[in-house]
């Protein structure tokens, strides 16, 4: 078995070139939006706008400017499936189409998926959506086909600034930790790692170096497993059934006496 593999994305060196988006689309042969008649977002350089079934990489452009626009900064982040160690999508998938690979990545097998979309509602990051070409749920496979052939994923290969780095998780975590220390020493005290430990979802095999709160990047501060509600919701449902059942039994039994009274002359 190979070691767990994944991505480490250092958002501080992303320049927003979108080479990763293009490389991903080309390798995975993903169709264009609206058959190529794309519309511009009009308020940002980000015209992809979100991850979905035909965009498995998405460079987020976050503008933080003062009202007079004299001061500000760009936050750029290439978003992708987080390949969670405890993956919510895999947990709920009723067909078994979502699997964990030998590289510890999470892959949707398109030939098994029937498009029920439970995984879309389960993913706390909003990564998965239906690909209209296949009618199935799709997302980043961490280039499972390339990995099997000993190649690195298309996006990290294309990234010109090494913002997206591919490797074994242990190696990447070590490298990322050093980078955080380096940034702290250089005065960027806000730098920290998101998903590089097992604080949530058992850890993310695609983790991030960020310099602002997760919400600013559109990331949930506290993502959870969907089954957190399973036991309590089931018990409450049973309670509801028992109460309704008792109401029914009492009602239909009592009626015997009452309708008897009504029938009296």
């Amino acid at each position: 078995m190979p070691e767990p593999m994944g991505f480490y994305t250092d958002t501080t060196v992303c320049i927003g070139c979108k080479a990763c988006e293009v490389a991903c689309k080309e390798w995975n042969q993903l169709p264009a939006t609206n058959g190529g008649k794309n519309t511009l977002s009009g308020d940002s350089y980000d015209n992809t706008r979100r991850l979905d079934g035909i965009h498995w990489r998405h460079v987020k452009f976050i503008e933080q400017f003062t009202d007079d626009r004299k001061d500000g900064r760009w936050l750029l982040m290439s978003d992708v499936c987080k390949h969670c160690v405890q993956a919510p999508c895999l947990e709920v998938c009723p067909t078994g189409a979502i699997v964990r690979t030998e590289f510890d990545t999470v892959v949707i097998q398109s030939d098994a998926c029937n498009g029920c979309r439970d995984c879309i509602a389960a993913c706390p990051f909003g990564v998965i959506e239906t690909n209209p070409a296949s009618g199935t749920a799709q997302k980043c496979t961490l280039c499972y086909d390339r990995l099997q052939g000993g190649l690195e994923p298309a996006c990290s290969k294309a990234c010109p600034t090494q913002s997206i780095q591919f490797g074994t998780i242990s190696q990447l975590r070590e490298r990322a930790q050093k980078r955080v220390e380096q940034l702290h020493q250089a005065g960027e005290k806000r730098a920290y790692l998101y998903g590089a430990d097992d604080k949530f979802l058992g850890g993310l095999n695609s983790f991030y170096l960020l310099v602002d709160k997760p919400e600013v990047y559109g990331l949930p501060p506290d993502p959870k497993m969907p089954t957190r509600n399973l036991a309590s919701a089931s018990w409450f449902s049973m309670l509801g059934a028992v109460i309704v059942g008792l109401m029914g039994i009492i009602n239909f039994r009592n009626r015997g006496a009452r309708s008897g009274e009504e029938q009296r002359p």
Partner: protein, 301 residues
């Protein structure tokens, strides 16, 4: 939007639309009507049997409609069987911790029980000339077991959908553990309502209908309490219902589907002969709007 009341606000909507709203409605009717019919069979009086037959006659078509709606909703409808069998090995596909997986099986099993009871009802009405078919319904041992297990399956079909919504990461749905309970109770209220409406068209015993009406009002009162509990349990996420959806929930479900039917129940002289049927119709429409609001509001935040 810089502050989020919950980490569920970063997920994407699964685009469950009208098919799913209708499925929640018909699935609730199927499970609830079967359950009420079984209760009438097991605990009611002999003259209730006509009403019980009506329940079984509603349950089977509703569960068939439900299955069709669910299959149509799939991105790849012809692969619906992947929910039950693994597509590459043809082994059983079953994940007890995934409500959709368990729910798929429950639909199949409940469908079988609905069919058995449907046949039993047909036999009793003299429309099916098969010796032994009458034994598919109580009071016999076989019939009682079918009614009991079928009723439990029916409640499962009616309630698992709410649990399924809870076992996601969408706002509202996964911010409360009470939607399953709400759907179970609501299934009973809309089912009693539909049985009242259809029973009025036929010559079912008036006493049976009145007792069903009384049960419906008790259940609606319970449903009101559960709905308020849902709102409280949402905590800061309740904010998502301070919108047109919340207004629809208040006017369409609480006022029209709960309070007005109760007012009619307490003031029997209102509307004369149409009193009971009007109340039932409002409960039914309210139950539909409830599902509509819950399905759509969590996907439009």
């Amino acid at each position: 939007m810089n502050s989020f009341p919950s980490s569920t606000f970063f997920s994407a909507p699964p685009e469950w639309g009208w098919y799913i709203v209708l499925y929640f409605f018909f699935g609730g009717l199927a499970g609830g009507c079967y359950f009420i019919a079984a209760l009438l069979d097991l605990f009611g009086r002999p003259e209730d049997r006509g009403l019980a037959r009506l329940g079984y006659y509603i349950a089977l078509p509703c569960i068939i409609i439900s299955a069709i709606l669910l299959i149509l909703d799939l991105g790849r409808s012809l692969r619906f069987w992947h929910m039950l069998l693994q597509s590459n090995t043809y082994r059983i596909m079953f994940k007890p911790w995934s409500p959709m997986s368990v729910g798929s099986w429950s639909l199949l099993i409940f469908g079988i029980f609905s069919l058995l009871s449907f046949l039993g009802a047909l036999a009793e009405d003299g429309l099916l000339q098969k010796p032994g078919a009458k034994r598919l319904r109580p009071p016999g041992a076989l019939g009682s077991i079918i009614a009991l297990v079928g009723a439990l399956c029916g409640f499962f079909v009616a309630g698992y959908t709410g649990v399924l919504l809870g076992v996601t990461n969408r706002p509202i749905w996964s911010d409360t553990s009470l939607l399953g309970m709400l759907f179970v109770v609501s299934a009973a209220s809309i089912s009693a309502a539909v049985m009242i409406l259809l029973a009025h068209k036929s010559d079912r015993s008036a006493a049976s209908i009145n007792s069903l009406h009384r049960l419906d009002m008790w259940v609606v009162a319970l449903e009101f309490i559960v709905l308020i509990a849902v709102m409280i349990s949402l905590g800061p996420v309740f904010r998502a219902w301070l919108s047109a959806w919340g207004a629809l929930l208040l006017l369409g479900v609480i006022v029209m589907g709960m309070l007005i039917p109760w007012a009619l129940y307490l003031r029997k002289e209102w509307l004369g002969k149409g009193n009971v049927t009007t109340a039932a119709a409002l409960v039914l429409v309210g139950g539909f709007i409830l599902r509509l609001v819950i399905v759509f509001s969590a996907q439009r935040v």
